[in-house]
């Protein structure tokens, strides 16, 4: 069962990475990052069956970080949108020389 969970987790993580690389909408990229965090959480829970409760506690901390990241990241997206009227990352190139 742990092996299956690790396989599902690997596939989900890869889907998240491919999503980040192929999309340009900042919000969808952000959701792909959440998917990657979820895949890692699945690994943690699978290993907590072997190595004790520490994995589950780490999952709670990962969720906390994800919530904080969602709050701040979406606020950043909102304030970028206010200035540029877009969330397409190709149009947000102010730092390009």
């Amino acid at each position: 069962m742990i092996n299956e969970a690790l396989f599902f987790s690997a596939v989900l993580f890869t889907i998240g990475v491919v999503g980040v690389l192929t999309r340009r909408n900042a919000i969808i990229i952000f959701m792909c990052v959440e998917l990657m965090l979820n895949a890692v959480n699945l690994t943690f829970v699978a290993f907590s069956k072997l190595y004790g409760a520490a994995g589950q506690i780490f999952v709670i901390f990962v969720m906390t970080v994800a919530a904080a990241e969602a709050a701040v990241g979406l606020a950043i997206i909102i304030s970028i949108f206010r200035h540029r009227e877009t969330v397409n990352l190709q149009n947000i190139n102010l730092l390009k020389g």
């Binding site: 906390t64 709050a71 606020a75």
Partner: protein, 135 residues
């Protein structure tokens, strides 16, 4: 293996999915489509619809939703704390679920108080900034 206790939940999920598919599928199969302008318009509690549904929301909604996430996480930490509180407020292991007399400690209360105090600073900041005010 207490997983057997979740069987009713699985049955409920299956029933809900089947029910939804059946209701939508049957009504899709048996309906005759005769659209008119009135039928196609959005339903807004019976009154004629005003404007487009795709209006931009105010950012005030986002601020409330964001505060909700943060305090939701605080609650996630408080659930295990509350269910473990009896043991945390006792300096020695419990005997028969009760703390032996004279061993009460404020360890559990103190750690949650520190946690909540730091978060209360955030709440006070939000209050001061007026993000809780609607207008």
């Amino acid at each position: 293996m207490e997983i057997r206790a979740y069987l009713p939940l699985l049955l409920l999920m299956g029933f809900v999915i089947m029910n939804a598919v059946m209701m939508l599928g049957l009504s899709h199969l048996t309906m005759r489509s005769r659209p008119t302008a009135v039928k196609q318009s959005a339903y807004e509690s019976g009154i004629p619809p005003l404007g487009d549904a795709r209006e931009r929301f105010s950012v005030k909604f986002y601020l409330v939703a964001m505060l909700f996430i943060i305090f939701d996480i605080e609650t996630v930490f408080m659930i295990p704390w509350a269910s473990h509180y009896r043991q945390l407020s006792c300096a020695v292991p419990l005997s028969n679920g009760l703390c032996p007399a004279g061993n009460t400690s404020f360890f559990g209360l103190g750690e949650m108080l520190v946690f909540m105090l730091i978060l209360f600073v955030g709440l006070a900041y939000v209050w001061k900034k007026g993000a809780l005010q609607w207008d």
